[in-house]
Amino acid sequence: MGVLDKLKLDGNVAVITGAGRGLGRAMAAALAEAGADIVATARTESQIEESAGLVRDKGRRCLVVQCDVTDSESVNAMVDASLGEFGRIDILVNNAGGATDGFGNSLEAITDEQWRVGIATNLTGAMYCSRAVIPHMLERGSGKIINVTSGFGLRAGRNNFIYTSAKAGLINFTRSLTMTYAPAIQANLIAPGLFPHGDPAMEEWWKHGKFVPMGRLGADEELGPLCVFLASDLTSYMNGQVIVLDGGGLAGGELPTRFAPVVPLESE
């Protein structure tokens, strides 16, 4: 079998949380293009329908399930519904997450509730989903879990306590999945750099990526092939790893300071 054939996901079922927009939508579309049927979940049902349309346009089936990943009952019901519809889950993409209330607060200004919600959204949700899906994967003897962390899971940020803690926690949670369930289950992570999801305000805030080594921000579609790569047989021996997709940001470490150390990059 040729190396490109190993990328095909025909017959696979992928559950994607946070599939209503941005990276989640791009990953759902890419996995569907590679042949997988999709369970698209998000808190806001209206947004998921558009993602489901993309999947169905590619000739794949899509089940839409409203789900709050911070509520374990909601997660368990989503997994039951997925298994009821498709009878199997091959791929779980824990993508739900993001900045929550209190992001950027100084330590003294973080309330108990802000901390709880931030950790629940960016760390506990992935645990709930993994916990619900893994028994099924073990029963079938195989499964792929892809967790979406962040560059902030690997480096710190001033007044960035909640998000960095949760995303770093997700990395070591994933490595422990590897130590516990390999080789039946593969658990890897994607760490996206700066992706504005087409939002002009975010593009402006990040200065259109001028300080990123590649000189630009990421486009959501660029994450799709990585997700397919990690879900495919090309990476059967990869486990417990973080793949950083950030235009070179972490290689030099200039992102936090917004200038390149020692040698200025091409000025614009």
Binding site: G2, L4, P213, A219, Y237, L245, L265
Partner: protein, 257 residues
Amino acid sequence: MVVEQFSLAGNAALVIGASNPLGRAAAVALAEAGADVAVATTTRSQQEEVAANSCANEIWALDRKGFAQAIDAADERDVDSLVERAVSEFGCLDILVNAQDLHFAQPALEISLAEWRRVIDANLTGVFLACRAAGREMLKRKTGRIVNISSVLAERGMANGSAYCAAQAGVLNLTRALALEWARSGVTVNSVGAGWIDAGGFLADENMKRQLERYLPYKRLAEPEEISGAVVYLASDAATYLTGQVVWIEGGALSHV
């Protein structure tokens, strides 16, 4: 189609160190993905020349173009003329894979300066020379993909492995520095961090191999073909925003420590 983004049809590739199992698997995977592939050795040993020729045969059997050349990968004239030949035969060079590999294990107190230099030259300086020669071509065209194969011994130490470990770690940070230098020139530079494979060398000792297999989460070593898929990914249009990174395929070995 997302799968087509991984295709390398129409690309010209050069794999140095295709005389060892990881380099061979990378060269064959690139050819399977559609690239024409030239291959070269790490040293001018007869055994490596035979292995490189056999790899070129596999590439031809896939109906791809290519050639095999025996070189000393630490000799700048050899490396420069190899890259010139690849550019002249293919018309350009899109992909460079550095898979040079010279195993060496000795207690530090017994390593002569000449031995140290030989190991660093083959495993690290050779990678720099190849990146420099290929980089000249790639920067001219403002496009190119470089993939440097390194090892778990770049990230973890090993007793009696000082020279090899230092060289492998050097490859990782050479990768990051070049990635930044060439980030705005259309050239990405990444590394594939390979797990333990059964390639003789450090694992020629059966007892050590069995101990290692017990320690690995997969309870087995990797097949070279399980690692080469990452080379195809990094060399393709599927990885447009990825540079200066190591993609590890190591069966969870690094999650231990």
